[in-house]
Amino acid sequence: MQSHRTLLALLSAVLFGTAALNSVAAERPNIVLVLADDLGYGDLACFGAQDIKSPNLDQFAKQGLRLTSCYAGHANCSPSRTALMTGRTPTRVGVRNWIPHGSPVHVRKEEVTIATLLKGAGYSTCHVGKWHMTGQFNEPGVPQPGEHGFDHWFSTQNNALPNHRNPDNFVRNGEAVGQTSGYSAHVVVDEAISWLRVGRDKSKPFFLYCCFHEPHEPIASSPNYTRLYPHDDPSYSAHHGNVTQMDDAFGRLMRSLAEQKLDGNTLVFFTSDNGPAITNQHPHGSAGPLRDKKGFLTEGGIRVPGMIRWPGKVKPGTESDTPVCGVDFLPTVCQIVGIEPPKDRTLDGTSIVPVFSGE
């Protein structure tokens, strides 16, 4: 009798235990983080741009929460990305400025990224696009995207080269890809869609980190988009067209999620790495009403567009002016997925889950 009871207890533990695990797994959402490059606070129609066409991101804004006080973790690329991936103020990590190709600066192996945490929690993980968290890209001795938790990566050290058209500097899982065909945003989304369809482990939830090169220089925009912006200055048409190029590729990614019936249980967070660059060659980016631009610690350098879509959890068409920051991404995702953020180091971020419901 005793042994039967034990057996029954064991059996029910196995049965119910498995059922409980399955239901947690079924509830755990997929996570998609989409990052634009040098997209300013005023560079999308849904953030007040009068002269930029961003229909896909505008529709995305209506489907979710618009964050009007969303801050990048830094005023330029490498540190800002470091903040998103580690939940730590990037100077703490040693990434204090953009990382030129060849530089010894990198996000060290002892840092714990959100990709490593999610992979450990049973997620299938992928990075596509600009990486920019090491100078010694695809070289031995320092961590590459694979060592920072990405099962699959199709990445560039920094910008798409020689420019956004037919870039030839992507590396897929350690192997140089050679020349690609098309414009960078579409090349990046092609890889993301392919991974979603056939690359990932479909028995697991997924984390996709999609980093566009647009509208960072060196800009090259398809005539499909430049023609939307007839102007005496071809640099104007190219810059604005570059934003639309990214928007169009983003729309393709969102439609693919819907076609694969993945959009319902997927949290998508869209943001930018820093304010608009506003350079001699391309002075057409905008920080809207904010002061200064990329590289400055005033609002124009660090306040960026931020939007979250998560059907059933985030109410469509809502808005929040609660300050949130790139360092908040890791603790937020940890809370959503039900995993512990690293306890053996200082994290600078905090979960923004309460913001989802307007708190």
């Binding site: 330029n76 910008n159 060196p218 200055d233 060659q281 009403p289 005033t298 609002e299």
Partner: protein
């Protein structure tokens, strides 16, 4: 603004700069109220001394903790290997200003 500024801003990593970073202290502070002044035009540090002192104190505590924890890097000389690979479109070449070989190189 920090009290120690490198002699010339470059993309190099130098031993001197890494040493300066570990000792640099912020010396200039401003206070804006973003709710009323999103364009950061009016410095309120003199008008709101208590708020200013409180926020400055918080900032410096964080700054010192972060500076202490940051690793430093071995010296390295910028070679602009990325900038040399960039092909700019024709309109940029015709623009007359900057051809991708500016002193700061590609960012």
């Amino acid at each position: 603004m920090l009290d120690q500024r490198p002699m010339a801003r470059t993309n190099d990593v130098t031993d001197e700069e890494e040493k300066q970073f570990k000792a640099a202290e912020p010396v200039s502070f401003v206070l804006y109220n973003l709710k009323d002044d999103i364009g950061e035009t009016k410095d309120l540090s003199a008008a709101e001394p208590d708020k200013f002192a409180d926020m400055k104190d918080k900032l410096l505590k964080k700054y010192h903790a972060v500076r202490e924890e940051s690793p430093t890097w071995p010296a390295w000389t910028f070679d602009n290997r990325e900038g040399q690979r960039i092909v700019w479109p024709e309109y940029v070449k015709n623009r007359g200003k900057g051809k991708g070989k500016g002193k700061k190189g590609a960012k």
